[in-house]
Symmetry: C2
Subunit: 492 residues, 2 copies
């Protein structure tokens, strides 16, 4: 074995950390709570970025860049937003270091104190709406559809690679509209983009829905979310899209002259996904041998390992691999020939399994003579012997099958663990075993909070397309009338 | 006219600012020294990123991501680096805000002081070499070839959009090697990537050379640079590549076991280009009507403006434009039809000229009848009438011609303003008129400093490929023996 991975049954949390670390995705840095994203992990993130960026642009969104720093006073403007975001963050107070007069390296120059402290952005609504104020005069200036790919910082006490880090990478879209309807439609459009991406590219069968008021983004009128089920049955919020109403426009005094010549406040949305998606990817599909990457996000889709006794055999196999590689690359498949001479084939097999490469080809002397190659699928761990003739077409099709199978497996797991529940005692028991429970809820924040206090479970969302939830019933906790079921789960 | 632009002869500096602002590339933000990069400007930066990223990867470089923050103590490790970088920077001292007890919004929580201050990265050598320490044990772990695209902050007192901002975007490559030769070769390879990009994509005829010791990066053994001449004859350093020797490896104790089993310090390079390239692009090619974008970096390569009297005429022209657009897009050309109904054609012409769109097509009723279209080149402002039949192929060729012409024009300007100079009195006079002067220099920092004090001119580089500079002579300032000429200029 390349590197020992803790099994899921033994310790799910340790298993996750092992995968992130040992598959070379990321590691903790010298700065508390900040991670280093290693090249293999970053290559997956780049693939995510590339697909998402292209989908955003298809909806008319353009990229821009806004400052890293936000003046402290901006956080006092939007009252709810302050409460939700302004607390745990990195505060810049000085702008100069100087040599320590005592000769111990450098110290902060006390004379270089900033007049107003700057906050490293935890999210950029405030600075962006302060900017939009200057961009918007008339309805002709609308809509504005901007996105930025950037880093943000939220001072987290307990951090986990990708899932919760002080600094993380994300994209944040911020749009400005002339009407509430248009803004709401945009918020809906973007959560759909996220859902399609999660399902079709990440092979993640997410549930799309509205957040309950208690779980909304600070400053939003409505928050849409995509919720994914991990293998332990916990929920992971994988992306959100917010209808912000006129809250930020009012806080930053952003008005426009409408077609009738009247002044109105602008309507807003914001939406984002982050490197947290990497955590979802690891936890949703990995197994006890390591990562299982959906082919559409795998930096290396096919790895080839030669098994040889003599130099001649080695050269003949490598030549054969070279031909298959060229044929696959011509079809857009990314391929690596692992020709390292200091490692045994078994070690290489384990390493590429750990790294989640979807397809592994191995060729030995007998294969060479027979015109065959051993094909191993990472998702099922099945092996078969195939003719090298036409192997490129076979693999292209296999990659599609693997992509689909990973999705189907995750969906089956979810379907096996989503249940209707109408009994509070049953709820308390089942929610601890890793279930998403579809329950009636009386619609109050008090009840939601009481359920959370009793079980740690929260309303993950009020589903819009995955389940038919509209029906009359009684709240699972209070017994009061309810008009629909919602999804309760314990979440990351 | 769309928006009035100051002419270059009137006020070159104001002209630059006008272009950056009025062509919608960027603007100052509410945070001192930090800019907002607007969608049109960011689209150009994205094109630069895309080409560079692909070229980096061809050389084996992989992207990764390292923390935004650097512990203060790291800056005390590499003595020269401290002196050069650690002074003017953003210092994070606290990690929490709280509600002001007096009710005035939020204030910094005095109890949330960090044990050790964190510096927002001005460049990442220190944090990266501290990370590489854990990645490198044996010669088998080398080379490491990482790059990151990120934001950095250097607290600048006087800022200018793109040219000098407190926060800017850049890429920084950091490589680790087993031998000095390999590291030097990498530093050379990367400056070549930059030079090819500047010349072939940005149409910028840069001079490649070594920096004098005085102008080297803090901590480098050798700094290679690409230097561009702006239209006022000043130099702009557009990218640098550093051979760092073993300095950072020694400061962060990064050693490896070589093939002979001995411990050695690792050899390093770093190299970067930034959003400063945007400033170079504006200043090198713009004219008094606005930006002139090389087609390879233009977000919109062809704009089409209809000129019509009746609705029928309008519809027929737009239909014709649609067909041309489809044909051009099939050839990879980006096209915009400007069908805004509230603006006159003359206004649109001026706006797209300001934004530097390489080719403008205009079609009126007569063109429609005759099967022709008016083609205007942004670089020469020439207009001609062409048949719409085969216009797509004509435009593809025209875009190539424009790309070449913009380069040729910049090169001719440079050649007209590079002179050998062997007389100190002549030097003092000519250097103020916007010349690059090829002069003998005695090789000492004292002389370089004395020349700078007298004229503000610095040694931009010791050229390696643009001019034959190896010859015996006498230093222009001290008269002492010299073995080569170097490039002196006043720089941005």
């Amino acid at each position: 074995m390349a590197k020992e991975v803790t099994s899921r049954s033994e310790n799910y949390s340790q298993w996750y950390n092992d995968l992130a670390l040992k598959a070379d995705l990321a590691e903790q840095s010298a700065v508390r709570g900040c991670m280093v994203i290693k090249p293999y992990g970053y290559a997956i993130w780049e693939k995510m970025q590339s697909v998402l960026d292209s989908e955003f642009k298809k909806t008319g969104v353009q990229n821009a860049y806004f400052p890293l720093f936000i003046p402290k006073s901006f956080f006092s403007r939007e009252a709810e937003h302050v409460a939700g975001f302004a607390k745990e963050c990195a505060v810049v107070t000085h702008h100069r270091l100087m040599n320590d007069p005592d000769g111990n390296g450098v110290v902060v120059d006390p004379e270089a104190r900033l007049e107003e402290e700057l906050i490293v952005r935890p999210t950029s609504e405030t600075i962006i709406w302060n900017t939009y104020k200057n961009w918007i005069t008339s309805w002709r200036d609308l809509p504005i559809l901007c996105n930025q790919w950037c880093n943000v910082v939220r001072w987290e006490m307990r951090t986990r690679l990708f899932l919760r880090t002080a600094e993380f990478l994300w994209q944040e879209g911020h749009t400005a509209h002339a009407t509430a309807e248009e803004a709401e439609a945009k918020a809906n459009e973007m959560v759909k983009v996220y859902a399609d991406f999660a399902r079709n590219v990440m092979a993640l069968p997410v549930i799309v829905g509205h957040k309950s008021p208690n779980e909304r983004f600070a400053g939003a009128i409505d928050t849409l979310t995509i919720e994914a089920m991990m293998q332990d049955g916990k929920a992971l919020q994988a992306g959100t899209s917010h209808f912000l109403g006129q809250n930020f426009a009012k806080s930053f005094d952003v008005t426009f002259t409408n077609k009738e010549g009247k002044q109105e406040y602008v309507w807003a949305t914001s939406w984002g996904v982050s490197t947290r998606l990497m955590g979802a990817l690891i936890m949703a599909h990995g197994d006890d041998n390591g990562l299982v990457l959906p082919p559409k996000l795998a930096p290396i889709q096919v790895v080839m390992v030669p098994i040889f006794k003599t130099d001649d055999e080695h050269d003949a196999i490598i030549a054969k691999f070279g031909a298959i590689k060229a044929a696959l690359e011509a079809k857009g498949v990314s391929v690596k020939i692992d020709d390292r001479d200091t490692l045994r084939p078994g070690f290489k097999f384990a390493e590429w399994e750990l790294k989640g490469v979807p397809v592994r080809l191995a060729m030995g002397g007998r294969d060479l003579a027979a015109g065959t190659v051993e094909v191993a699928r990472r998702d099922t761990l099945e092996k078969s012997t195939e003719n090298t003739e036409g192997i490129d077409a076979y693999i292209v099709e296999l990659l599609e099958k693997i992509q689909q199978n990973i999705y189907d497996k995750a969906l089956a797991h979810r379907e096996a663990n989503v249940e209707k529940c109408d009994n509070w005692e049953e709820f308390k028991e089942k929610i601890q075993t890793g279930k998403f429970l579809l329950c009636h809820w009386d619609g109050t924040t008090e009840t939601e909070q009481a359920i959370k206090d009793a079980t740690k479970a929260t309303i993950r969302c009020i589903p819009v397309d995955s389940y038919v939830c509209e029906e009359e019933g009684k709240c699972i906790f209070t017994g009061k009338p309810s008009h629909r079921r919602v999804v309760f789960a314990i979440s990351y």
